[in-house]
Subunit: 336 residues, 2 copies
């Protein structure tokens, strides 16, 4: 994503939050909007807005401010998803700073969680508001909204499955990847942008053929970085996923391949909230030794190739194809 688009998305978010602050009805004792402004503008890759803008241009949309506002609304929706995820996962940090439920914990952790729950609800409400008030014609917004609605259900369903299937199979983990990763990060934002520009079903299907494997690969990369990434670069503590026992594809593949003799040690360490670096090194060693890491790397490579092939065949302008190809590489071959 170009810095220019990022700056315009951030300016749209900042302007929207200014307006919301002016209309804010409650004499609440906490600076709720300040906390959310810091969180929303404080980091993040802005991938969803980037894909939304790319989808818009794929359908021939001109360079205009309205689509930036609609794209920025997806980032506000993402803030909702992250805030509620962090409550559920009891994460201390996000984007290298305290999670929202920690920022609001001045009156204790329970208050912090409840306040953050409401902050997430506000971000979800504002995302819809911002999307609908982006300034595009009502019939264009009406054409795109069913995809936004579908995306909302998918990502929450994915989170539910993630929560409920805590010791899941590879198939469960792959479904979470598809719902919480691929569809949410890539395919739906692309399709929303395309619909806003008047794109048809054929274009929507072509964008899914590209976006689904790309998004799967993106999420699988995220899972690998969650265990093997450098916390100084990812902004996420390196032990969180292991301490939480997050049922990723990487972990499910490890479990499948684990010799019975090593199984007990693995299950004992995984999900231990007090896991230290030594224990983490043991877990990483097991994950590598079972071949799970190289299998996931192969899966990422296959999906990247599938995405790039689908992109070749997609009915999109050449400059958009070039940009999406670059986005693909940077989303998959990254260290943060």
């Amino acid at each position: 994503m170009s810095d220019d688009v990022r700056d315009r998305v951030d300016a749209a978010l900042s302007g929207f939050l200014d307006r919301i602050e002016g209309e804010w009805p409650a004499r609440a004792p906490d600076d709720v909007i300040g906390v959310l402004r810091d969180f929303v503008l404080g980091g993040g890759k802005r991938l969803r807005p980037a894909f939304c803008c790319a989808g818009w241009r794929a359908a021939g949309g001109p360079d205009t401010g309205e689509v930036i506002v609609a794209a920025a609304a997806l980032e506000l929706f993402h803030a909702f998803a992250l805030i509620h995820d962090d409550i559920i996962d009891d994460s201390d940090t996000r984007r290298g700073a305290p999670a929202v439920h920690r920022r609001l914990a001045g009156r204790g952790p329970v208050f912090g969680r409840h306040a953050a729950l409401l902050c997430g609800d506000l971000c979800a409400a504002w995302a819809e508001q911002m999307f609908h008030e982006c300034g595009l014609p009502p019939d264009r917004i009406a054409a795109a909204h069913p995809i936004l609605a579908r995306m909302r259900t998918e990502v929450i369903a994915g989170q539910y499955l993630d929560l409920a299937a805590a010791a899941g199979t590879v198939a469960d983990a792959l479904q979470v990847v598809r719902l919480k990763g691929a569809r949410y990060t890539v395919t739906r934002p692309l399709q929303i942008g395309a619909r806003l520009a008047g794109g048809d079903d054929t274009l929507g299907d072509a964008l899914a053929a590209f976006g689904d494997p790309l998004g799967d690969a993106f999420q699988l990369r995220d899972d690998v970085l969650g265990v093997f990434g450098d916390p100084d670069v990812t902004g996420k503590p390196a032990l969180d996923d292991l301490r939480e026992g997050k049922p990723t594809v990487l972990i499910a593949l490890t479990r499948e391949a684990l010799p019975p003799a090593r199984r007990d040690r693995f299950e004992l360490l995984l999900g231990d909230p007090r896991l230290d670096e030594t224990g983490a090194a043991v877990l990483r060693g097991i994950i590598v030794a079972t071949g799970a890491l190289s299998r996931v790397e192969r899966m990422i490579g296959q999906r990247r190739d599938a995405a790039l092939s689908a992109l070749e065949a997609a009915p999109v302008p050449d400059d958009v194809r070039k940009e999406l190809s670059e986005l693909t590489i940077s989303a998959i071959d990254r260290n943060h």
Copy 2:
């Protein structure tokens, strides 16, 4: 509200949930949609749909199925608000049955809260989806959506204030009443219905002049019933509000009028999670003795009169005036 409208709203909700179930993307191990169907269709006064339909007819809207779907979407939004409220208040029951976080607590109370958090998120997402897919023209929906967005921010802000101002003043309590009660239950649903039918700002203002005092009175009645109501009739345990120490107008007025000699006893009992019937009787005695109960009853009466006067002056058809007048009486002079 006529039984006919209630039946049509429930049929719309049931049909929508059937469709959602068909599209539900996750192989989740819990019957999430079943739990939500039971909760949404299991009770409730359907006040918001009733006011939305009344607002629609106030603006001259014809009898049509589309507005029923839009009105039913407000009920789905209400399910979201109740589910998250019950998590925050740690309520055991709602509408005479277990709260959603209790229904989902098969794998423990923490899982139940997290699962319910996501269920609330789903209801909020589906409410927007149902509203936008009601079948009315996009420009009508676009005209009404800013009021829906405003309502969403108001009710969440009111809940935040409720959470944060736990030992609040009468002014704080009245602001919560206005945001969580009046605007959310009456004024915004009326205005949304009117906008959907093409109503203008003059009508919207007249509906607010009626709806705000009516809604305040409705919420004040709710607070009185929370302390003095018959649990067999309200469907809510009679001690919940007192055990929680809910900072209502009734409680704030009691605190203001409390002689210092009785203050310690009052604060000791109020908010005690193990409060029993004997302690509750003491609290009720104090609330009555300070005159707080009769002051709230007077406030309710004044607001009912103000609502009925505003209704007399409102530019609405006579049959709508008659219906709203009946809704006013039944919303205020009730025992559940």
